[in-house]
C-alpha cells in the first residue's frame, strides 16, 4: 500500500510537469506581446524593454522554460506580470475563496443529489422518480450564468430573501483574515453575526454552482442503486424479510457507492476549476476570477500557476478516491 501511494504521488509529480510543459508552450503560441498588454497604450519604448528584461521575456524559449522549472523546484511560481506579486502569494489570497465555494457547492450537491437519487431508485417509474428525473434534466441543462442572474434577481432584488453578491454584507466589519475562508475566520473570531452572514452569502452561489452536480449525482446514484437492487443478494435480503431500511442502507447502498464515489472525486475537482462564471456573477474573489483576468491580460505566470495548482489538487483528489475504494470494497487490492 505504501509503495502504491508513493508511486501515485510520483505520478502526480509527472502530471504537474506535463501541465507546466503544455501551458508554457501554449502560452508561447499566442502571438501577443505580454509587455504591451501589461503596460498599456501610453507606455514608452524603454519601459517595454525594461519590462521584458525584468521578466526574462527577452531570453530564448527553452531557457525561459528551464528557469521556470528551476524556480518551481523551490516552490517559486514566478511573478505575476499584472500584479507584480509572487504568483504563490496571489494563489494564497484567492484560493481559499474558491475552496470555500467549491466545498459548499459540493455539500449542496451531495445533500440534494444523493437522497434524491436514492428516493428515485426506490420509487422507480412512479411520481417521485419522474419528478427527480425532470428536475435533474432541468437543472443539469440550465446554463450557470442564466440560473445565477435569474435567482439573484428573484431572491435578492425582488424578494429580498437572500443577500446579493460578495462574501459578506459590506456594512459588517469583516473578521480578521486568518485562513482566508471567511466563514471559518468568523468562527475563529467567535463573530457569530459575521459567521451567519457569511453562510447566508454562500447559499445562493453554492446552490448555483452545485446544482448541475446535484443533478448529475442524482442520476448516477439512481442508476447505480437500480443496478444493485436487481441483484440476487438483495432479493435474498428481501426474502429474509428484512425491512426496507436495512436492505437499502445495509446492503445496497454500500455496493452502489463505488461508482458514485468515483464521480464525487471528479465532481469536487471540477467544482474547483469550474467556478469561473459563478465567481464572476457573484463577485466572489476566487481563483476563477483571478485566472480570467490573468488570461485577458496575458499574464502567463499567473495562468500557469493556477493551472498547476488545480491540476495537482485534482490528481490528489483522484488518489484519495482510489484509496477510499479499498476501505469500501475489500476485494480491491493495491499492487
Amino acid at each position: 500500500m505504501g509503495a502504491y501511494i508513493l508511486r501515485r504521488l510520483l505520478m502526480v509529480f509527472f502530471v504537474g510537469l506535463g501541465i507546466t510543459f503544455v501551458t508554457f508552450f501554449i502560452a508561447q503560441v499566442v502571438p501577443i506581446d505580454p509587455a504591451a498588454a501589461a503596460l498599456g497604450e501610453n507606455a514608452r519604448e524603454e519601459q517595454i524593454r525594461e519590462f521584458r528584461e525584468r521578466y526574462g521575456l527577452d531570453k530564448p524559449l527553452l531557457i525561459q522554460y528551464g528557469l521556470y522549472l528551476k524556480r518551481l523546484l523551490a516552490l517559486d511560481l514566478g511573478r505575476s506580470l499584472r500584479t507584480g506579486r509572487p504568483v504563490a502569494e496571489d494563489l494564497k489570497e484567492f484560493f481559499p475563496a474558491t475552496l470555500e465555494l467549491a466545498l459548499a457547492a459540493f455539500l449542496v450537491a451531495v445533500a440534494l443529489g444523493l437522497p434524491a437519487g436514492v428516493w428515485a431508485a426506490l420509487r422507480q417509474n412512479r411520481a417521485p422518480d419522474l419528478l427527480v428525473r425532470l428536475l435533474a434534466l432541468l437543472l443539469g441543462s440550465t446554463p450557470v450564468f442564466f440560473l445565477a442572474i435569474l435567482l439573484l434577481d428573484l431572491l435578492h432584488r425582488q424578494l429580498g430573501l437572500l443577500p446579493g453578491p460578495g462574501r459578506l454584507d459590506p456594512y459588517l466589519i469583516p473578521p480578521p483574515r486568518v485562513t482566508g475562508v471567511v466563514s471559518l475566520d468568523a468562527l475563529l473570531a467567535r463573530d457569530w453575526g459575521a459567521f451567519r452572514d457569511a453562510l447566508h452569502h454562500l447559499l445562493l452561489p453554492a446552490f448555483v454552482l452545485g446544482s448541475a452536480s446535484a443533478a448529475l449525482l442524482a442520476r448516477m446514484t439512481r442508476a447505480a442503486l437500480l443496478e444493485v437492487l436487481s441483484q440476487d443478494y438483495i432479493r435474498t435480503a428481501w426474502a429474509k424479510g428484512l425491512s426496507e431500511r436495512r436492505v437499502v442502507l445495509g446492503h445496497a447502498l454500500k455496493n452502489a457507492a463505488l461508482p458514485v464515489l468515483t464521480l464525487l472525486g471528479g465532481l469536487l475537482g471540477s467544482l474547483l476549476s469550474g467556478a469561473v462564471l459563478t465567481e464572476t456573477i457573484f463577485s466572489w474573489p476566487g481563483l476563477g476570477r483571478y485566472v480570467t483576468q490573468s488570461a485577458t491580460s496575458l499574464d502567463f505566470p499567473a495562468v500557469m500557476g493556477v493551472t498547476l495548482l488545480v491540476g495537482v489538487v485534482y490528481s490528489l483528489l483522484n488518489l484519495l478516491v482510489d484509496l477510499l475504494y479499498a476501505l469500501l470494497d475489500p476485494r480491491i487490492r493495491y499492487a
Partner: protein, 520 residues
C-alpha cells in the same frame, strides 16, 4: 426578564445595523488595482483610492483642472534661477499623518526621493517631464521646501504633476520603520497607508473589497467615516446591487442600465468628464497613402462624428476635433470638419485616387471610450467612409496586439485611445506632436519640427494667457495637418442612490470621497 434583555439587544443590534449613513459602499470593477503605494500606483482605481489617503503639496479642486490650489503647502512661488527653476513651498502647520506625527519638510524630501528611487510606472513624470534629480529637493526649515528643476523643464507641468498621487506625501518615519532591505517601504505601502489624507486604509481583500476609515488625525474630516469599495464586474449584477440598496454608487453600468436608473426617482446619474480621446491614427510613413495631406483631409470629411456620438454612444461623449481635451488649459473648441462625403471624394481624386482608396483599419476587439465595443465604432466609421470612396478593411485583434503593431509603425490606420499622464496640456502636446518623444507622433511618422518646437515653447511658458495662445496655434496646425482624426471625448456615467450627495469624479478619475454625504 431575560427575554426583555434579549429583545432590547436585538433592537439595538438592528439600530446599529441600519445606521447605513455611516458607511458608503461604492461598487465597480477595481480589478486593475495592484498597489496603493502613492509613489508606485498608476492604475485608475488605485489612483482614485490613493487620492483619498494621501495629500499633495498643491491640488486641483472639483472638476477644475486649470487652477492650482493649496494642499499641504499653503503657498508656493516659482523663481527663475540662472540654470534652474526654483520652486519654494511653505507648508501649513498642524497637518498630521494618520500616525499622529506632524507633516514636515523632511517628509516631503523623503517622498520625492522615494519616487525617484522606486522607479514606478509613473516615475517618468518626475524624471523625464520635470527632469527632477535626486538631491534637488531640500528642506530649508521644518516648514519650507525648495525644489530645483532644470530650465529645460516646465514648472507648470511639474506643479500639475505634483497634484498626482506620485506627489503624495508619506510619513517618512513610519515608512522607514517598515522598510525591508532597500525597498523604501514599498512592500509595506502596497497594502497599508501612511498619509495625512482624510482616510486611512484598514483592509484590502484582493478581488473582494477595499475598506477605508476616517483618519483620526486628518485636517479634513470626511462626512462618511467608512468607505467600502466593492469589486463588482458584471454590469447586470452591479445594477441589481444598486437597486437593492446593497451599494450606493455603481460605476460600470451599461447604457440600458443607466437609462432604467435615470428613470427611477430613487436614483440619479452623474456624468464624469474624462480626459480620454478616441481617435484615428494615420501612418504617414513614406509610401503610405496617408503621407499625402489631401488623403488625410479626405478622411476628416468622411467621418460622421455627430451620428457616432448621438447614435452609437448615446450622447455619452463630447464632440471634439482638436487634441487637448476639454477640461485642460488650451482646450480648443474648434470643430471645422463636418461629414461631407462628396468633398472627401473630390479630395481623394485630387490626391490621385479617383477610384477611391482601400486600406486596413486596425482596431481592438475590446471596449472603446464610452463603453462601446471598438469593432462597432470601426464598423460605423467604415460605413461612413465607404460613401466617400475610402474602403476600410477592418482588422479587429486583441488590444495588446494592436498596441504592438502600432508601436512598430506597422499600421495604415488605427482606432485608438489616449489619456494624458498628468493634468496638463503638455501631457498631450508632447506625445502627439514631438517625433523625438517616440510616442504617438513617432508611431504615425509625423515628423514636424515646427509643431515640436511650438509644443516645447508652450510647455515652458509660465504665463497662462501666453500659453493658451501657443496651444491655440499648435492645436489648429495639428487639426489641419496632423495624422489624427479626433473622434470624441467620452464621459463616464455613474449611477448613484438619490441619498448620496456631493459625489463627483474629476477628469483625472479622482473622486474626493470625503466630500460625499449620505441621507438616511
Amino acid at each position: 426578564m431575560r427575554r426583555w434583555i434579549g429583545l432590547v439587544l436585538l433592537l439595538l443590534g438592528l439600530a446599529w445595523a441600519q445606521d447605513r449613513t455611516q458607511v458608503l459602499v461604492y461598487g465597480g470593477d477595481w480589478t486593475d488595482l495592484i498597489t496603493l503605494d502613492p509613489q508606485v500606483v498608476y492604475e485608475f482605481s488605485g489612483v482614485m483610492i490613493a487620492d483619498n489617503l494621501y495629500e499633495t503639496l498643491v491640488r486641483f479642486e472639483g472638476t477644475d483642472l486649470s487652477t492650482l490650489r493649496p494642499g499641504l503647502a499653503e503657498s508656493w512661488k516659482v523663481d527663475r534661477g540662472t540654470t534652474d527653476w526654483i520652486l519654494t513651498f511653505k507648508l501649513r502647520r498642524g497637518s498630521r499623518f494618520s500616525t499622529g506625527r506632524e507633516v514636515t519638510a523632511k517628509d516631503v524630501v523623503y517622498s520625492f526621493e522615494r519616487a525617484l528611487a522606486l522607479k514606478g510606472p509613473g516615475s517618468f513624470l518626475f524624471t523625464e517631464i520635470a527632469q527632477l534629480k535626486p538631491g534637488a529637493t531640500k528642506a530649508l526649515d521644518p516648514y519650507t521646501v525648495e525644489v530645483r528643476i532644470p530650465k529645460a523643464a516646465s514648472p507648470q507641468s511639474f506643479l500639475s504633476i505634483l497634484t498626482f498621487t506620485i506627489g503624495g506625501i508619506v510619513d517618512s518615519e513610519e515608512v522607514q520603520k517598515n522598510a525591508k532591505g532597500g525597498d523604501w517601504g514599498k512592500d509595506f505601502l502596497t497594502n497599508n497607508s501612511a498619509g495625512s489624507g482624510p482616510y486611512r486604509l484598514v483592509r484590502w481583500d484582493r478581488g473582494n473589497q477595499v475598506i477605508l476609515e476616517a483618519n483620526p488625525n486628518a485636517r479634513v474630516k470626511p462626512k462618511v467615516p467608512r468607505v467600502v469599495l466593492r469589486y463588482i464586474q458584471e454590469p447586470a449584477v452591479l445594477r441589481t446591487a444598486l437597486e437593492s440598496g446593497e451599494i450606493d454608487i455603481a460605476e460600470g453600468l451599461t447604457p440600458e442600465g443607466l437609462k432604467a436608473i435615470a428613470a427611477n426617482p430613487r436614483f440619479k446619474v452623474v456624468r464624469a468628464e474624462t480626459l480620454r480621446l478616441q481617435y484615428l491614427g494615420m501612418n504617414m510613413k513614406a509610401g503610405s497613402p496617408f503621407a499625402n495631406p489631401k488623403v488625410r483631409e479626405a478622411v476628416r470629411y468622411a467621418v460622421n462624428q455627430d451620428e457616432l456620438i448621438q447614435g452609437l454612444l448615446q450622447g455619452n461623449a463630447v464632440k471634439i476635433q482638436t487634441f487637448i481635451p476639454k477640461g485642460l488649459l488650451g482646450y480648443n473648441p474648434a470643430t471645422p470638419y463636418r461629414y461631407d462625403p462628396e468633398r472627401a471624394r473630390k479630395l481623394l481624386a485630387e490626391a490621385g485616387y479617383p477610384q477611391g482608396l482601400e486600406f486596413e483599419l486596425l482596431t481592438s476587439t475590446g471596449i472603446c471610450g464610452g463603453g462601446v465595443p471598438c469593432p462597432d465604432v470601426a464598423a460605423k466609421l467604415q460605413a461612413d467612409m465607404a460613401r466617400a470612396g475610402l474602403r476600410a478593411r477592418i482588422r479587429a485583434i486583441a488590444n495588446a496586439e494592436v498596441l504592438a503593431t502600432y508601436r512598430a509603425q506597422n499600421h495604415q490606420m488605427v482606432l485608438a485611445g489616449w489619456s494624458p499622464d498628468f493634468p496638463d496640456p503638455d501631457g498631450n502636446a508632447t506625445p502627439w506632436t514631438d517625433y523625438s518623444a517616440r510616442s504617438l507622433a513617432w508611431r504615425n511618422s509625423y515628423n514636424d519640427e515646427v509643431a515640436a518646437k511650438l509644443a516645447r515653447q508652450a510647455a515652458l511658458e509660465a504665463d497662462p494667457e501666453k500659453r493658451k495662445a501657443l496651444y491655440k496655434v499648435l492645436t489648429e496646425k495639428v487639426l489641419r495637418e496632423g495624422p489624427y482624426v479626433v473622434l470624441y471625448q467620452p464621459s463616464q456615467p455613474i449611477g448613484l442612490s438619490a441619498k448620496v450627495e456631493g459625489f463627483l469624479k474629476n477628469p483625472m478619475m479622482s473622486a474626493p470621497l470625503w466630500q460625499v454625504s449620505k441621507q438616511p
